[in-house]
Symmetry: C2
């Protein structure tokens, strides 16, 4: 097996801020977006970090992403706010929304910040985790490009609409962190199977007749994903229902709309102290986690894990050894640099 070359997080961060400021983004916005993207690569969610840069440049070229935009709070009703992303790269309004919802939760016990008129914001979990690191419980949701085929249907009609949830334990660097697409798998897993020339298990992708598509090359081209559950018998109506919930909160409630490339987000932050003593909450959560970890495993070498464990372990590994970036992606970043005139720093 070939080793993928690695790049230190700091260098990747510098490359991204350089590109973003060349696009015309404010230095603080460039810093925010670069930090979130590199953190995401550090956690191992390679599909949502620097790998998205070519897509963002495409949005810029098409006039869908405005690098000079400043997101703004346009409604402020006590604990509930609405933010207009003004077509910024999604990370910038999403960061403002999370910061605002945390502040609202400090004041009111709860904060909700909904975002309209935004773009792709990277990994949903980053924002939930940010709140948990400050002692809060958080949910982060976004709608996304149409890939999910509703149960009984044949055409993509909703996004992979992720749900992220995070809650603080006593070790604030290690919150519970769930970050999941509401499809059986995110599109990235279909791409990986295609590159490897491997078939897909039934339950991941669908053909034009609504049946399982197991050819990964065709599935990657036709982009029809099954809702979590895979088939009606295995609960796909639940994945579809969850995706619809996310769509209503992110696209309908915010006014962003559900057309392709219309993007909204929804952040809920809860201050545990509104309900009980923070230490008691964190201690009880640690007990719950310990009980789950103690569940007798089916295979002694594979214990029960807690959502967030893989990302935690990968971050430690990648901080030390760098982030593996495929040569093809390095070339895509070089092309982005050439197009916008930014210096290429990954050579």
């Amino acid at each position: 097996m070939e080793t993928v070359p690695t790049i230190p997080a700091e260098r990747l961060h510098r490359q991204l801020t350089t590109v973003f400021t060349t696009w015309g983004m404010r230095a603080d916005h460039a810093e925010t977006a670069a930090t979130i993207m590199v953190d995401t690569d550090l956690t191992g969610i390679d599909s949502h970090g620097v790998g998205m840069l070519p897509h963002y440049q495409r949005l810029l070229r098409e006039g869908r992403l405005d690098p000079r935009a400043t997101p703004a709070i346009i409604r402020d009703n006590g604990p509930a706010v609405l933010i207009d992303g003004n077509k910024a790269i999604g990370h910038v309004p999403a960061h403002l929304a999370t910061t605002t919802a945390i502040e609202k939760a400090r004041q009111h016990g709860i904060g909700i910040a909904a975002v309209t008129n935004s773009n792709h914001y990277g990994a949903a979990g980053w924002y939930a985790r940010m709140a948990a690191e400050q002692g809060m419980i958080a949910i982060s949701l976004t709608n996304a490009s149409h890939l999910l085929v509703p149960v009984h249907g044949t055409q993509p009609a909703l996004g992979t609409n992720p749900i992220a949830f995070s809650a603080p334990t006593r070790d604030t660097t290690r919150p519970v962190l769930l970050d999941m697409a509401t499809t059986t798998v995110a599109y990235g897993k279909v791409s990986i199977a295609r590159r490897a020339g491997k078939p897909l298990p039934p339950g991941w992708a669908l053909n034009a007749e609504g049946g399982p598509e197991t050819n990964s090359a065709i599935a990657a081209e036709e982009r029809r994903l099954a809702p979590l559950g895979g088939t009606r018998e295995q609960g796909a109506h639940k994945g579809y229902g969850l995706a619809l919930m996310v769509e209503i909160l992110c696209a309908t409630l915010t006014g962003a709309g559900s057309a392709q490339l219309r993007t909204g987000h929804f952040f809920l932050v809860l201050n545990p102290t509104a309900f009980r003593d923070r230490q008691d909450f964190q201690a009880d959560l640690d007990d719950l986690i310990a009980r789950l970890r103690a569940n007798p495993p089916a295979d002694p070498t594979t214990p029960v894990i807690i959502p967030g464990d893989p990302e935690h372990d990968t971050t430690i590994e990648r901080r030390q050894h760098g982030i593996p970036i495929l040569p093809a992606l390095v070339e895509e970043v070089r092309a982005v640099c050439t197009e916008c005139g930014a210096p290429f720093l990954l050579g």
Copy 2:
């Protein structure tokens, strides 16, 4: 196929209030619990309506359910409240919580009511739907008895921990209504397969080694359910993660705790007008629903449906023709009446 005898909703309601007042419940509490249970039977969720009565009497007998309890708000922090169920039947504090969260959402744009020290509250969707019928968006969550086996584990460690979501359309009698267990199937579906002598599909239940249990008689006895997704490859870590999220919000945040038969609930209510014009929201939601219904179906006789459609259709049917109650359940209700001394009204 044998026809199941039906009972009019009104008679079932009278039977339930009679039992509850005989137990010592206040007339208004009896009315609330009976209404929620009968509505649940009307929607076709037979596992969570009158079918739960023998279980509630068992809780009463064991001293876990206090029929004379009056739930009370014990913390009130602006939009966030904590309610102590004081061991009442779950419907009573859950109804208070939903009413309170709706009132908070009218004042603050958002309301959250968390409930500790409660019992089984019936169907999660009832409370979310109640809020949607008043123009609100709502989420209703509860933890439950341990049935779900965590991914890689072998023993039940979390409940089927349902997620219900409802949102108002222009037709207030017909909100979007998702009500789903975070296991592939609720336990009721395993029981139904056992009674019918049918095997279970893999992905529903697990054996003591963590593999699939397809024998419905064994599965009904051993009570090990797979998280939504069924297997790791099909996303069972997502169902497990969602169940853990529900557990943290209902059991850990409220202080109810995660031991068997410790029950808490969590209700979030959002007023759409905190974010945008209510009519615009409802019109956009109707458009989204229309677009989903227009998705070309795989089978022309089975169109794409919206969460809540089956419950809506069943309610119309059962209001007209009565609620089918199996003779065995009629006998269980008779036994409940005999034990507590209430008149039996289903004969």
